[in-house]
Amino acid sequence: MSNGQNGAELRLVTPGMAIGPSAGMRVGSGALAQNDTIIATRLGWVKHLNNTVSVDPINSAYMPRSGDLIVATVAEVRNNLWFMNINGPFQGLLPMSLAPWKVEFGAARQHMGIGDVVLARVQEVDECHNVVLTMKGVGLRRLNQGSVHSVPITHIERLRGEGNATIQRLRDACDCRIIVGENGKVWVDGDADGIAWARQAIDLVHTSGHKKSFEADLSALENNAPKNGDA
């Protein structure tokens, strides 16, 4: 919808399927050139943009990139660092020096324990998938209340909407604070009714974020939002 396709026919391809000739085209993600043909490597929608052919996958694991804002959970605490579950193949590492507090060696546990949820940024990812996180930065902090939900990585854009319009609609409808992590974890905070409604809205992204009916379904849900008073 927001992929610059505007009316162009959308094509769903499966791995190995020929997309078109490779002559004069650049090969983007989700595709590769084999002999004279560009083939899909993932299940998804074909995208032509500025002479580049790529496939927007329908499903994807979270692969961290430096700068990503994520919602992470403490998985392990050492004397001078935390290991975080970031919903990706590998854990992220938060060293004491990148925590938002002055931490003495050995005192990491006093600031955050196993199971604690934080808002962090990916500082660095190396070739071997070693992920370093930071909590130094505006708004990065331990999340002491609210609840955490999941959305498929490939539906994050759908949840945000163009210019964050959709996510703002959700915030308004349930009167909750909502932060969408690039790792598919969504933090919601507000009163119980608001969180319950947000949960339904996020489930909707899960089940029909890829469907044409999404807009209509979301509008229907909005009519039942706590702020409309008839929930």
Binding site: G113, G115, G146, S147
Partner: protein, 261 residues
């Protein structure tokens, strides 16, 4: 693999419990919709599939001919086993059956065995020489919470459809296994400080101990099990015992309805 329990999940469950609410909007004693199919596996002598929310379980019954135990020359045998295989969830790892799998299989086994729904004498072919061994194997394909009830239901439903393959073993004509009763399990987990029926995956993750109750047709107890860390009071048990009666008779009706079709 030990799953990580997010602090916020436990907090949220506790807060919901204060208002007597659940994450998925169910009432405290409401179960998820149950889809039961019987006779759905081609090579099993009896089979059933149960879908409860995101939980999917298959059970299959097989027979073998064996020599009876010397002290019980005219009795056959019944065995029920369950496997929480790594297909069912990322938390399950490959390897020999885990203590959880063994517990699951044995709790289901006790409920069926102790209800007396199978007359072991009826499994005798030639006293002292040949008896039927009945084996119920339960395969958990997807763990979306409360696999115990799903396994218990699949096992008894499969058993009730079983046909003894006498012809294949050259000991007479095939006949339907006689099963007298429908023992049903109801499971409760402490979530946010109080018990709920039929916990979901998230409720199990952020919850505490669990109690499994298997009731026979007459409402008698046939198997009880308390699992995981935690304690409960007699008053709490009395409360869930009441609920178990209702839920078990509803599920028993579901089995009967499927058999009627």
């Amino acid at each position: 693999m030990v799953e990580l329990v997010p602090t916020l999940l436990r907090q949220e469950l506790a807060r919901l419990a204060e208002d007597d609410l659940r994450l998925d909007g169910r009432g405290r004693w409401d179960g998820r919709d149950v889809d039961l199919q019987i006779d759905c596996l081609y090579n099993a002598e009896g089979s059933a599939k149960v879908v409860m929310g995101k939980t999917i379980v298959y059970a299959g019954v097989k027979f073998e001919i064996r020599t009876p135990w010397p002290d019980r020359p005219s009795q056959g045998s019944l065995m029920c086993g369950a496997e929480l295989r790594p297909v069912a969830h990322r938390k399950y790892e490959p390897g020999p059956p885990s203590p959880q799998s063994i517990e699951l299989g044995r709790v289901v086994d006790r409920g069926i065995r102790e209800s007396g729904c199978i007359d072991m004498e009826s499994l005798c072919i030639v006293p002292g020489e040949k008896v039927w061994g009945v084996m119920i194997d339960i395969h958990v394909l997807s763990d979306g919470g409360n696999v115990f009830d799903a396994c218990g239901l699949a096992a008894i439903a499969a058993l009730r459809t079983a046909v003894v393959p006498a012809e294949r073993f050259d000991v007479g004509e095939d006949y339907t296994l006689k099963v007298n009763g429908t023992p049903i399990m109801a499971s409760f987990t402490r979530v946010g400080g109080r018990y709920v029926f039929d916990p979901s995956e998230e409720e199990e993750l952020g919850g505490d101990e669990r109690i499994h109750i298997t009731l026979g047709d007459e409402g008698h107890l046939h198997s009880l099990q308390k699992g995981l860390r935690g304690v409960f009071t007699p008053a709490e048990f009395a409360e869930i015992f009441e609920v178990a009666h209702q839920r078990c008779s509803e599920l028993r009706k579901l089995v009967a309805t499927q058999e009627g079709n």
